[in-house]
Symmetry: C2
Subunit: 129 residues, 2 copies
DNA sequence: TTAACGTATGCCCATATCGGCATATACTGT
DNA sequence: ACAGTATATGCCGATATGGGCATACGTTAA
């Protein structure tokens, strides 16, 4: 097997920087392909191909008007990514780090009559070693 | 050119489902390679390779202990993804949609002294709190 | 109808991938 | 030193990629 297709899911689709660039332009409102071509520095066929990928994973939607096609972002398709990445928020947010400290404190006071020295390790679960 | 290297950035690294699976396991606390191999259904060399990719984009960090290597998540490396995806939150969040309605209202009242009755979409209740 | 415009598709190719397997490297215990 | 464990690396093959270019398709204007 090779790498998963870019059209597999939103994760694969947005791995390509130019596709993110397209979404970044589209977030301001819908644009026709030609406008995208001008804004990005890329050939029209390439832009069309990227748009196809984005369409296939539902990250964008199209509206035809005459011979032009206006593309717009379809936000909800990004939610899976949002949800996934949010599971890691505590890993970078100072807010959560502070919260962890507080929780740790409370826990110790609750548990700890005996208060045997605990290393600040994982939280709730009990990882072996 | 072909597709960008998986080690280009976090976006490319997490496009691979198994790498996300590894991170998902690691988020509970550090694990040795062997433990990952057991949990994932994948050969040890493959796991090591995925870990290498994750290491190269700083999504994980290693700690050697004897012949074992304990891997753990390095959250901040995910922040770029978080930041990027958050720019689109209004595109799926009801909360933001509601906010948009309010802002639209305010704008109309500001602009229009004359109170031109545009879309008088009845304010409607806002069950969302 | 014909020409021009806007967009999509097809073909080529160099490239990086991912899994499987064999093997190298590193550390530990006897 | 030697065997055994834990992990990393190298090579292979099948595959999909993304840009460049030509061209097909669909719509509008002359």
């Amino acid at each position: 097997m090779a790498r998963a297709a870019t059209t597999t899911d939103a994760f694969n689709a947005i791995a390509e920087p130019r596709r993110r660039a397209i979404l970044d332009l589209l977030v301001g409102g819908e644009l026709a392909v030609g406008e995208l071509v001008e804004l990005l520095e890329l050939g029209q066929p390439q832009v069309s191909k990227h748009l196809r990928v984005l369409r296939e994973v539902a990250l964008v939607e199209v509206r035809a008007e005459g011979r032009e096609r206006f593309y717009r972002v379809n936000g909800p398709a990004l939610k899976p990514i949002h949800d996934w990445v949010m599971r890691y928020e505590r890993a970078w947010s100072d807010r959560f780090e502070a919260l962890d400290v507080v929780l740790e404190d409370l826990k110790q006071k609750e548990d700890g009559d005996g208060a045997s020295n605990e290393q600040g390790d994982g939280e709730g679960d009990d990882p072996e070693r």
